[in-house]
Symmetry: C2
Subunit: 213 residues, 2 copies
DNA sequence: TAGATTGTTAATCGATTAACAATC
DNA sequence: TAGATTGTTAATCGATTAACAATC
């Protein structure tokens, strides 16, 4: 019996672990593992088995007591929870080093994220292609976003343009933003935004190394 | 009176917010702000003033009651806490798209992180330069790391080589690792590792969009 | 059946928020 | 002095861990 647990509050921490489970399960599947226990899955990921069972229990009952989880079934279920069983259309705004790297990141496609367009203001870049994806002028954002049903925008422009680019994306009809600039972007309530602040990682290392060296 | 609060437990969340404070303070300073309240700083970052005061209080008393924080003083103090007032020598292993982008990321240097070397196994890349930084064969890691006193290694190789590259870095004397591969790397207790899993961001957006669309 | 492992409830731990005395 | 704002203690909230009944 599959329950619908809409009433359970799902923590951000849980959502961030699900992709980890998903990926590790896929790897296990490739290795030929058909059934896996929370114990074994936890060992591979570096998470306690209780944590995994708790996380999953927020969405339903996916395992078999005394047995474990059927890998393919769990992959399907987590994929469904994360919305990975469908295609998302994404766009990158800003072809700097990072934007270029992300545009070349082939793995997105394999996870259902289809890069539909790249935007930049530089006339020298507009009209060129990165891996068969065209670079458009930012002014054409409303048109292209609508035409290609783009739901997610990735912002890799210099920090000072982050907010104005976000505004333009939102006005064009985008539903979610992945922000690589180190500034806080104000967005309407209904919009989802994930901040990927790459400068935190090194600072964190710096902090710990200063203390231990 | 500056106290030494070695007994206070500092949460990971606090450490992750400090770079945010640091950066925002620097921006404020550039705008000519000399004194800032936790209220105003919080507003700019999107964090409650209580949070900021609590975070800082783990390290000492940096403000003036009834006044606020002297921006330059707080920058210096947070910089000291994070270990940003010194130079760290870093190396990148793996010149794929992401490694290339990071090697070109000029901002590292401005924060005291000096890219000293790049490593790759591809003979076509070895000997070339990215922004005046030479690409060395991975076999020369022990030699170069020691010679240039490199403390931090950035791993941007394909997932399957992550662990062996980490082992090599550690054996070469590296003290901290910034891991961009989506796999768990086992390291000795004394080593610091920060995982930057870029695939989580899109999955998280996918999850929220699935629910709200 | 006995052993294994889930799903869930209760207990613990940790982090955030609220409140306020101290003091500039 | 009165108003403002810090630093800290107490209260709340949320997330993780432990324990265990259910059951395959």
């Amino acid at each position: 019996m599959k329950e619908n647990k809409q009433h359970v509050v799902i923590s951000k921490a849980t959502i961030d672990r699900l992709p980890l489970y998903y990926r590790t399960l896929k790897l296990s599947q490739e290795e030929g593992v058909a059934i896996i226990s929370s114990e074994e899955l936890g060992r591979r990921i570096g998470v306690t088995p209780e944590q995994i069972r708790k996380d999953l229990s927020a969405f339903g009952e996916f395992g078999k007591k005394g047995v474990g989880y059927y890998v393919s079934e769990l992959i399907r279920n987590i994929g469904e929870i994360l919305g990975l069983n469908r295609q998302w259309n994404i766009a990158i705004v800003g072809v700097g080093h990072l934007g270029w790297a992300l545009a070349n990141y082939a793995n997105f496609a394999s996870q259902g994220f289809q890069l539909q367009a790249i935007f930049d203001v530089d006339a020298n870049k507009v009209g060129k292609y990165i891996n068969d994806v065209e670079i458009f002028d930012c002014d054409r954002m409303p048109e292209i976003v609508a035409e290609r049903d783009i739901q997610i925008g990735i912002i890799t422009v210099p920090a000072e343009y982050a907010q104005s680019v976000a505004n333009k994306l939102i006005k064009s009809g985008i539903k979610g933003i992945w922000n690589f600039t180190p500034v806080k972007i104000d967005v309407p309530e209904r919009l989802h935004i994930v901040n990927e602040d790459l400068s935190v990682g090194l600072s964190s290392l710096s902090f710990h190394l200063s203390r231990s060296l």
